[in-house]
């Protein structure tokens, strides 16, 4: 397993390199010159030239690329153009607020979706199943912005059930501020998840081993909770583990609207301010997390499916 993981991680190096190259080309060749953006439209040619020299944009492209690779390896992306903070510091500071929002939301969503998925898989084709699927589609069709506006206006402003926006690093105050965004996050994603798990579970219930389990005399709850669920864990785990690292990135709109100082909000602000260093760092960071998700998924398979193992038994 260690050998496998090492090989897998080594194998990601070319991927990272490729991602770095594409990101570099997008920003430096296609993306245009950020100095104009930073200096405004009344900048003189000398000012532009000076800033370009400061930021190293006057060097040949291959030198700039090597510099970029160095930034990646050392996880030191210099300063943000907009806030003048160290980019790596900004990222590290943003992770905890982001996770405070996304982790509980994700686990609540998964838990609710699996439970509802099991129920509707059991009652498939009956009215309870049809109504649930209809509600899921409705829930999926409402844009997140609508949930945010509705939540902030009615639940927070009118009914005063939650604070309208804000963040407090202290517990349990943090939870008070995060409750509404978490609720909205669950509302937005639970429909999709229920449908995903429903499909995965229903596919399992038509397998031959389910018939065997019934022929043995097992009760339906036992069949669903033991036999069907364990087999459905393969698609479920793929879904969950793949998404897990990306939770670090936070939720763009929710963080922005609720003033949560997480990575999602930071990224949105960076895009708004053309803060290239931050966007570049976030893009690379996200690729890392994605690759991490893939490796973790492979590992998770071996835990839930005895047919998959690293030592090739």
């Amino acid at each position: 397993m260690t050998v496998y993981l090492l090989r897998k991680l080594l194998g990601t190096i070319p991927t990272i390199f490729g991602v770095a190259l594409i990101v570099f080309l997008l920003f430096h060749v296609v993306g245009g010159d950020p100095t104009y953006q930073m200096l405004g439209k009344y900048a003189t040619a000398e000012q532009v030239a000076e800033l370009r020299h400061q930021l190293g944009f006057d060097q040949p492209l291959h030198r700039q690329f090597v510099g970029f690779l160095r930034e990646i390896v050392t996880f030191d992306f210099g300063e943000s153009y907009a806030t003048k903070q160290k980019v790596s510091r900004m990222i590290l500071d943003g992770i905890v607020p982001s996770l405070s929002l996304t982790l509980p939301a994700f686990f609540l969503t998964t838990l609710i979706a699996v439970v509802i998925g099991l129920l509707v898989a059991y009652f498939r084709g009956r009215w309870i199943d049809r109504v649930t699927v209809l509600l899921c589609v409705l829930g999926m069709s409402v844009p997140v912005l609508a949930y945010i506006l509705f939540g902030q206006y009615f639940l927070a402003y009118r009914l005063q059930l939650f604070p309208i926006a804000g963040y407090d690093p202290e517990w349990p105050e943090r939870l008070v501020y995060l409750a509404l965004p978490i609720l909205i996050s669950v509302m937005v994603s639970v429909g999709f998840s229920v449908r995903f798990y429903r499909t995965a579970l229903i596919e399992e219930t038509s397998q031959d081993y389910v018939r065997t389990a019934r022929a043995k005399g097992l009760s339906e709850p036992r069949i669903y909770l033991k036999h069907v669920l364990k087999n459905s864990l393969v698609p479920i785990v793929t879904n969950v583990v793949m998404d897990l690292p990306l939770l670090v990135l936070g939720a763009f709109l929710l963080e922005k609207f609720f003033g949560i100082p997480g990575l999602g909000g930071i990224t949105i602000n960076a895009v708004h301010d053309s803060d290239f260093q931050v966007i570049k760092a976030m893009t690379i960071f996200q690729s890392f997390l994605f690759i991490l998700g893939n490796v973790l998924t492979d590992v998770a398979y071996t835990l839930v499916d005895p047919r998959v193992s690293f030592d090739g038994r």
């Binding site: 031959d208 081993y209 022929a215 043995k216 005399g217 009760s219 036999h227 087999n231 005895p306």
Partner: protein, 327 residues
């Protein structure tokens, strides 16, 4: 012969958009203690559905048992509530299936799956349950069962898996075993082993065995009684010798003629006889012809066959056919 399981006038239908499909239409048969009943017929003749109906394993919807009785020790299984039925399944009546590769749950060890059945129906301490599972694996001829018990299904061959299924099915000493094409998916040599095993175990525990197959060779080998099914109906039934020596229904004859034969001619060379087939295909159960269901494929069809569907009639002791012609 003491009847242990009696199926009377069983009717099972599936409901599709086009209408009701009568997969099993007024079928009756029975099996006695220590006796083997062979059920033969082409794919889709209702033989599997009839037996899934006994276990009440018909997926509902779209299927439904429309009527009839399944008497086990005098009780009608179709009238039991689900918890009583679960007590019957795997405990009194067991079933093994055609697909050994997929019938076991891939993510649990075979020991876990056998133990599950034992623990469910028998009040034994944990350790005993496991010992019993190992004992069952030994009984079905799996070598080093103490080690194999912790294997996952994918570590076993098809024949081994079918043995595991048999071990599981017999672990609670059922009175009746329904084997739905247990050897169809296996190699010929493994087929023989599995059949021998079934016969041996049957003799040992006095099991009533229902063997569903489309392989007449298998039936000739192991069955005491045979019923032949066609398009949801029993078309011929009788003792195995009678059926093979003296088949009366043209369909049964057709089936028997479709067995490939190799003969040696006087010079000792192997002579191949051209394989006979039954022309045509099984009728669509949604659009059955008026009269005999086999008429379109029957070489002996006469005008009277198109009038009304024939009833089962006796043509010998314990031998009856659903055919009006004497051919």
């Amino acid at each position: 012969m003491e009847k242990i399981l009696e199926v009377k006038h069983l009717r099972t239908s599936f409901f599709a958009e086009e209408g009701e499909i009568k997969a099993v239409d007024d079928v009756s048969f029975s099996v006695g203690k220590g006796q083997t009943l062979g059920i033969v017929g082409e794919s889709g003749c209702g033989k599997s559905v009839a037996n899934l109906s006994i276990m009440r394993l018909i997926p509902t919807p779209p299927g439904r048992i429309m009527g009839g009785e399944v008497l086990y020790k005098g009780r009608d299984l179709l009238k039991l509530d689900m918890s009583e039925m679960r007590h019957i399944r795997g405990n009194e009546i067991s079933m093994i299936f055609q697909e050994p590769m997929t019938s076991l749950n891939p993510v649990f060890t075979i020991g876990n799956q056998i133990c599950e059945a034992i623990a469910l129906h028998q009040d034994l301490p944990r350790k005993e349950v496991r010992n019993k599972a190992i004992e069952m694996l030994k009984l079905v001829g799996i070598s080093s069962p103490e080690k194999r018990v912790d294997d996952y299904p994918h570590q076993l061959s098809g024949g081994m898996r079918q043995r595991v299924m048999i071990a599981m099915a017999l672990s609670c000493s059922p009175q009746v075993l329904i084997a739905d094409e247990p050897t169809t998916a296996l190699d010929v040599t493994i087929q023989a082993q599995i059949l021998d095993l079934l016969m041996e175990l049957q003799a040992k525990v006095g099991l009533g065995l229902i063997l569903i197959t489309h392989d007449l060779g298998v039936v000739a080998e192991v069955a005491d009684e045979v019923i032949v099914m066609y398009a949801g109906r029993v078309v011929e039934q009788g003792p195995v010798r009678e059926i093979f020596a003296n088949p009366k229904m043209p369909y049964t004859r057709g089936l028997l003629n479709s067995i490939p034969v190799l003969r040696k001619d006087p010079t000792g060379r192997i002579k191949k006889k051209r394989l006979e087939t039954i022309p045509g295909i099984v009728p669509n159960l949604l659009h059955l012809p008026q009269g005999c269901r086999f008429q379109d494929r029957c070489t002996h069809a006469a005008p009277e066959c198109r009038q009304a569907e024939p009833e089962l009639r006796a043509v010998g002791p314990d031998h009856s056919i659903r055919c009006v012609r004497d051919v």
